[in-house]
Symmetry: D2
Subunit: 147 residues, 4 copies
Amino acid sequence: VPAASAIEQRIRGAFDRQGFMATIGASLVAVREGEVEIALPFSAALTQQHGFIHGGAVTSIVDSACGFAALSMMPAEAAVLTIEFKVNLLSPAKGERLRAVGRVVRPGRTLMVCIGNVFTEEARRSKQVALMTTTMMVVDAAKGLRD
Amino acid sequence: VPAASAIEQRIRGAFDRQGFMATIGASLVAVREGEVEIALPFSAALTQQHGFIHGGAVTSIVDSACGFAALSMMPAEAAVLTIEFKVNLLSPAKGERLRAVGRVVRPGRTLMVCIGNVFTEEARRSKQVALMTTTMMVVDAAKGLRD
Amino acid sequence: VPAASAIEQRIRGAFDRQGFMATIGASLVAVREGEVEIALPFSAALTQQHGFIHGGAVTSIVDSACGFAALSMMPAEAAVLTIEFKVNLLSPAKGERLRAVGRVVRPGRTLMVCIGNVFTEEARRSKQVALMTTTMMVVDAAKGLRD
Amino acid sequence: VPAASAIEQRIRGAFDRQGFMATIGASLVAVREGEVEIALPFSAALTQQHGFIHGGAVTSIVDSACGFAALSMMPAEAAVLTIEFKVNLLSPAKGERLRAVGRVVRPGRTLMVCIGNVFTEEARRSKQVALMTTTMMVVDAAKGLRD
């Protein structure tokens, strides 16, 4: 396993290559081995028809958080691919900003399973707005991404 | 059930109020009762680290397509809320544009279940890139959105 | 909220009316408000083709555990219905017995979201074999079960 | 790809080794390359507390149907493992018997994605009661089943 700082450097590099994270205004908040945190400030550019943050934007940050959490546990020559995820939307995603935490719960050689939790921070209260479970695949970056 | 044109007007109004659809560059392609289609042209602003369209962007258009498909079968005073979805990512989302088709498979009074399929169009070939199943809730627009 | 012993009595009554729990040999181990535990001893009658406990049997006990966890937080006149679940199978379900723990993470008036974890106990080691997320619906027992 | 009769022989062999299918009374109805059908007659031994067939029993037959559909497209030395599934329960599973149809929608070298539909037959009417999406893994039967 690479040193902690090498892990953060690797994840930050991958995050910075995700054009979509910049488009929605997300930022990488914390990287630990097997756990990654991403923040997303509220913006009218992210809303659905009732003025809450769109479930797709919520999903985007927690998918990235889980994917990077998985990548943080993979060998240096590996890349990560999302195979599937399921999201339960628990409460409307409103408030000043969202915080998504992705965590590996089963680090396998080929597949990793992660749990992602998304919270909103509003008036000093934190509330969970979404729950994700997801399967990430370890792929050989040199060989290409999918059969 | 309202007339077909009234349905389209209603869905188009809801789509236009989703700031996030404009942000990612999505457009409403077709509205039928119980089936809605949304298109998303490829853009570097939507990518993940390997240059494909981010799974969160894929999810955003198919979540909206399913939600609007459900809304198209609801009474005029109702609003729609996504309760949960699951997405299987079948192939990398590359190509010129994506097309998401959401369809109601169980239209209930309180809950509607939808299937969403996302295709990429590339060099005149269409290929499925994602499969969603989702539960949508019928809520009273006047009473507010969640208990 | 009814007293703790009334909760346990209610859940035990519902468990005993599930013919399927008796068929597979499951037993109700613990009931707390919002959390229920069910055990399932290994049996050749429960296996799939590789000799592990079938994913459907694993799902059965964790679906019941989650449903009863939700029911334990519902008013006395309510019944519980499973709307959907997703299960990630983390490791082969082998060992002497399985233990499923269902827990409510969002207790709503109409819908409750639960997380279920299934563990195997083998040679004094406990290992997680499955992870469920699920939506349970609160229905009026008198009115009937689904629209 | 092996001949059709070889496929059926292989799937029937795997079905017969699933002790759990015999326990619940399920039978293998049809095998085609990439599509398998399993039937389950109603029995009080399969019920939940409202007298319907337990969601776990419904899941058991559609998980097996999907797994065998995937296995029917795999090379002879491969075995199949369920990685994850999600089930939407659309209507109470009552009636004389259930019929689960599993179908491969993405046959990959390492992973296969399937859709499963479960129907009830009652008074000459067929009604869908459940919808599954699932990921199946192709594993080398000789090497063992999971990393």
